[in-house]
């Protein structure tokens, strides 16, 4: 699949799909983000799996500066905490048009160097694959226009899932964390 490390892939490609082993999903992403946060000063993190407040506390433990991140939180449990955070806004996970518009608006406003969506596959619980693929396609067009980078982590176990195969059509590189 990939001979480059996730971080090398991120440096050399504009949009990267990152396959992450399920048993070490959070810790592996944290390691990649720790490196990324030294290189990228503004990161937009679209949180679909876990509330932004929880991600921030994990960042602090891992020595990652959360001030470099801006969050769009779609996790219901995190909405109250998100409202108390300066660098966070919430959107209902099933409001896809609103989510797409908000991501575009935030990209235009904060001009991030990197956009992370964690992860599109979570949306499959309540959205059609076609709708998620369209959202990813639209987001990649916004990433192209803004000139920033995109990183889309997903479970390595989903590597052969139809949604992964559809997303592969729109990304520059597929990297796999070991």
């Amino acid at each position: 699949m990939s001979k480059k490390s996730a971080f090398e892939a991120l440096k050399s490609s504009q949009v990267t799909l990152l396959l992450v082993p399920g048993e070490s999903y959070n810790s592996s992403i944290l390691k990649t983000l720790k490196k990324a946060s030294k290189r990228y000063s503004k990161v937009l993190y679209v949180a679909l799996n876990r509330p932004a407040s929880k991600i921030v506390s994990e960042f602090k433990k891992a020595g990652i500066d959360p001030a470099r991140f801006y969050f769009i939180d779609t996790v219901v449990d995190g909405m109250k905490a998100c409202k108390r955070m300066k660098n966070c806004e919430s959107v209902g996970a099933n409001e896809l048009v609103e989510l797409s518009v908000r991501i575009g608006e935030v990209i235009g406003r904060i001009k991030p160097d990197l956009v992370i969506v964690d992860s599109f596959h979570t949306m499959q619980a309540y959205q059609e694959r076609e709708v998620i693929a369209r959202l990813a396609h639209d987001l990649i067009a916004k990433i192209d226009t803004s000139g920033c980078k995109g990183l889309f982590p997903l479970l390595a176990a989903d590597r052969d899932a139809p949604l992964t195969k559809d997303l592969e059509m729109f990304v520059d590189y597929v990297a796999e964390l070991k």
Binding site: R129, E130, A133, R134, H137, A141, K165, D166, M169, F170
Partner: protein, 125 residues
């Protein structure tokens, strides 16, 4: 000589209607399918088309998945396929399209002139 048979696969009824009308006007024999699954069902049951015009974004089964299934089935060997989509593929996606023997892409919104030209040249290849 029998008219060339074209299957148009798209989940948008307006696209199916307008593309079919444009192709029929040129003398093609047109069949339609509303998604990838219906396309596969019609291929199994009906006469093999000479060319398939395939949308990418469709509910249930994407055009990519439908094309992969068609290519895996030797019964449909020789069927030419053209994408008809709003999707903008990157180099990686374009390579996988070439690997599956997809002839070209027609971008949406569809220009009738572009459609007729690309269908004609794909059928001649």
């Amino acid at each position: 000589m029998a008219a060339k048979r074209i299957m148009v696969v798209d989940d948008e009824p307006d696209i199916l209607e307008s593309v079919s009308a444009a192709l029929e006007k040129e003398g093609y024999d047109v069949v339609t399918a509303g998604d990838g699954r219906e396309c596969l069902r019609k291929l199994e049951r009906g006469k093999k088309p000479d060319l398939i015009l395939m949308d990418f974004f469709m509910p249930g089964m994407s055009g990519r998945e439908a094309i992969e299934r068609i290519r895996r089935d030797p019964k449909f060997g020789g069927v030419k396929i053209v994408y008809m989509t709003v999707a903008e593929f990157r180099e990686r996606g374009l390579q996988s399209i070439r690997d599956l023997g997809v002839k070209c892409c027609i971008n949406k919104p569809i220009s009738v002139e572009d459609l007729i030209k690309k269908v004609g040249s794909s059928l001649r290849k």
